[in-house]
């Protein structure tokens, strides 16, 4: 991704990098982390390039800026596109990973990737996710040789982060526009809207694409609380992973957005492990460990 090929001469001079994300809030599509890097000496020029927080720019302007920065030999960029299936799976797996952790890992992955390519990164500017100080400490521990500046709204404060936000936003928009559905069900369309839960187009898309058994196409982030309301009356699905969760009590720090799909629309349901599998209860160990139950009545 990004600038492939041979390393430019400036790679070995001290470089700055900006990191920003696009598509963190939407209920569907990938989340994209983007970065932009250049030699420190290019910092001044960078601020003349009209980069601004991607959200304040019109789509055509973003596209235009992205195309021009791609041709700028003194700028490098890279993206990490996190598939909605990966987001859902990580947030719903037995050891749940929350969105902040996923975001941190993605940002650090970009830093590592650019360092590994051979660029001498000395300063990295990051739009914060969660507590800025804690995030900065985490980053500094992982990459001691780099000075990290972690700030709220970094995308409007530092041109290098604004640039990164354009890279991320354009990549996210294109990924959504060109999304190939895994599902082959008929009547599927691409009027997703922005993907933000409040967007009327997104709402009607979700309404039209819900399925009582399968939930949604895998473009949707099942771990988003937004999905709840669409599942009233849907088929209940019980998971072992959630059982363990209940037993432990909800001691784990999970973001409020995260919610278990199986719970949706079914409040106060009691779950028994017998619902999920046979136990071999009361039989000799050979059968127990193989979960073989004697069934004489069915």
């Amino acid at each position: 991704m990004g600038s492939d090929g041979e390393l430019p001469e400036w790679a070995s001079t001290p470089c700055i990098m900006g990191i920003d994300e696009a598509g963190r809030g939407p209920v569907l599509g990938p989340m994209v982390y983007g970065c932009l890097y250049c030699p420190i000496s290019y910092k001044k020029t960078l601020s003349t390039l009209e980069f601004a927080d991607s959200k304040t720019l019109k789509e055509e302007k973003r596209e235009e800026l992205f195309e021009s920065l791609k041709t700028d030999a003194t700028i490098g960029w890279a993206v990490d596109v996190i598939d909605p299936r990966v987001l859902s799976a990580k947030m719903l797996q037995k050891n749940k990973i929350n969105l902040n952790e996923i975001s941190h890992e993605s940002a650090m992955g970009l830093v590592k990737r650019v360092l590994d390519m051979g660029y001498l990164l000395t300063e990295v500017y990051v739009d914060t996710v969660g507590d800025a100080d804690k995030y900065r400490i985490k980053l500094t521990e992982r990459f001691p040789s780099i000075k990290f500046v972690v700030a709220k709204k970094a995308d409007s404060l530092y041109p290098v982060v604004s640039g990164a936000s354009i890279v991320a936003k354009v990549t996210r928009d294109r990924a959504l526009q060109n999304w190939n559905f895994d599902e082959t069900s008929e009547d599927m369309h691409r009027n997703f809207g922005s993907g933000y839960p409040g967007d009327p187009n997104t709402k009607s898309w979700l309404e039209q694409h819900k399925h009582s058994v399968f939930g949604f196409p895998s473009l949707v982030r099942f771990s988003w609380g937004t999905c709840d309301s669409y599942f009233k009356g849907g088929v209940e699905v019980l998971w072992e992973a959630d059982e363990a969760d209940d037993d432990e009590g909800s001691s784990r720090k999970t973001s409020k957005r995260q919610s278990k799909l199986s719970n949706l629309g079914f409040t106060g349901m009691k779950r028994k492990s017998e619902d999920i599998e046979s136990s071999g209860k009361g039989r000799c160990k050979f059968f127990q460990s193989r979960k073989l139950e004697q069934l004489s009545d069915f």
């Binding site: 799976a89 939930g215 072992e240």
Partner: protein
């Protein structure tokens, strides 16, 4: 499946041969049977092939080739394995029960079952974990060997080889 005879008070019949005699009703569901690590509280038709798209990962564990699929946002890892030689899987259904509404007629206790479909393999799915030979479901098949050892009628050959352990088995 083969193996145990239920010693229940009521007697029931399961017609596993019905398939052969009227082959038109026997649906072959080989490659279409999935064992999911969850309980889906629904019984009925569903557009599985449109939504559930297993893909092979190229990874092998214990000689089992690993597939990947997603269901309701969860990542599943699974493997397809053939049922042991001489065994088949059956999808059975009540014979006479007034179509579909078998649930409200608990009256007739003598159950009579017929085969609706047959299959020769199952795809077993785990949530998060890679499939392995240690999975309870796969280990359940150990019972076949145990059952065979316990229940297979002893033949004359068996007797001979047992009394003459040095002899090489004749196949």
């Amino acid at each position: 499946m083969n193996g145990e005879n239920a010693s229940s008070a009521e007697t029931g019949t399961i017609d596993l041969n019905g398939v052969k005699s009227s082959s038109s009703t026997a649906v072959d569901l080989t490659d279409q049977i999935h064992q999911l690590p969850c309980c889906i509280k629904y019984t009925g038709p569903s557009p599985v092939s449109h939504y559930f798209k297993p893909k092979s990962t190229g990874v092998e564990v214990d000689g089992l080739s690993v597939k990947e699929a997603h269901f309701r946002g969860r990542k599943l890892q699974g493997t397809t394995f053939s049922l042991p030689d001489g065994y088949s899987g059956f999808v059975i259904g009540r014979k006479k029960a007034a179509k579909r509404k078998a649930s409200d007629s608990n009256g007739g206790m003598t159950a009579s079952w017929q085969t609706n479909a047959k299959f020769q393999n199952i795809t077993l799915w785990n949530h998060d974990n890679l499939p392995s030979k240690e999975d309870a479901f796969l280990r359940a098949f150990h019972w076949f060997d145990v059952a065979k050892a316990l229940h297979k009628p002893v033949t004359v050959d068996d007797m001979e080889s047992a009394s003459n352990p040095g002899a090489t088995p004749t196949d």
